[in-house]
């Protein structure tokens, strides 16, 4: 029973990670591609972490490391996306739509 639940979370997580990667290929320009890694993958990783938590806890050792992974991911994912976007805008990387007027 527990194995089944863990499997469902694993497949769910892996599915979302896959969708994030597909997005990276399919979306038209750099700025839209940024949305893949910041979003679809957070839920993907979430699924895998819940599976890991259930697995280790069911073996008798309470495992809460995963909460830390979640916390650090939520802190770092927006920062890396922000840096990438800022650099891209600074270099005026091609976009499907007109780039905004932006001076600091």
């Amino acid at each position: 029973m527990i194995d089944a639940i863990i499997s469902i979370f694993l497949i769910f997580g892996a599915g979302f990670a896959l969708i994030g990667s597909i997005g990276l290929v399919r979306l038209p320009d750099f700025y839209t591609r940024l949305h893949g890694p910041t979003k679809a993958t957070t839920l993907g990783l979430g699924g895998l972490l819940i599976a890991s938590m259930i697995y280790f806890t069911s073996r008798g050792e309470v495992s809460l490391h995963e909460l830390l992974v979640t916390m650090f991911l939520f802190m770092t994912a927006p920062v890396s996306a922000h840096l990438l976007a800022k650099a891209a805008l600074h270099l005026r990387i091609r976009s499907e739509i007109e780039l905004p007027k932006w001076d600091k």
Binding site: H65, P78, W102
Partner: protein
């Protein structure tokens, strides 16, 4: 009381450090609680010089509610973005959005920008020099004014209330 305040200048920060330490080691043994407490006391003190300003949680209860709301929104955001990615040949309507900020505090703006990046179809790119405009990129924007109003109501208003700025 005064001595306590000098010893523990950032109680919340210290508490979080202790919890993180115990989670890292996955234990509640006395030795690690002691070691974690030492780290939790020394680290805030050693880094105090780098802290630009002190920010107080005015409403911890609201902060918790806000966290749950954001977690829920992240789940919804993931499913929405997954749909957008998988729907065949649907024309996306990406847009750059100038989002007018109503607050001036660095930390509060950082929290807002991170929240925006993690939630439905938007990534924050940059903030301008005088903290009045946040530049966002939307993946599929239907109505720019509605999106700005939604972010203001759903995220910026609670953050302002939580930090009291």
């Amino acid at each position: 009381m005064k001595l306590l305040k000098r010893l523990v200048p950032h109680p919340i920060f210290s508490f979080v450090l202790l919890v993180v330490w115990l989670l890292l080691n996955n234990t509640l043994s006395a030795g690690h609680i002691l070691l974690g407490s030492v780290i939790a006391l020394v680290l805030p003190w050693a880094t105090a010089g780098f802290w630009a300003e002190q920010l107080h949680l005015h409403k911890p209860g609201l902060a918790l509610r806000f966290l749950l709301l954001v977690l829920w929104d992240i789940t919804v955001a993931n499913i929405q973005v997954a749909k957008l990615i998988l729907s065949p040949r649907r024309k996306l309507r990406p847009a750059f959005i100038h989002y007018p900020l109503d607050m001036d505090n660095d930390f509060a703006i950082t929290v807002l920008a991170a929240t925006i990046s993690l939630t439905p179809g938007t990534v924050s790119i940059d903030v301008n020099g005088d903290h009045s405009v946040l530049l966002l990129h939307g993946l599929d924007v239907d109505d720019e004014a509605a999106l700005i109003a939604e972010i203001k109501r759903r995220y910026e208003a609670p953050i302002k209330e939580i930090f009291g700025c």
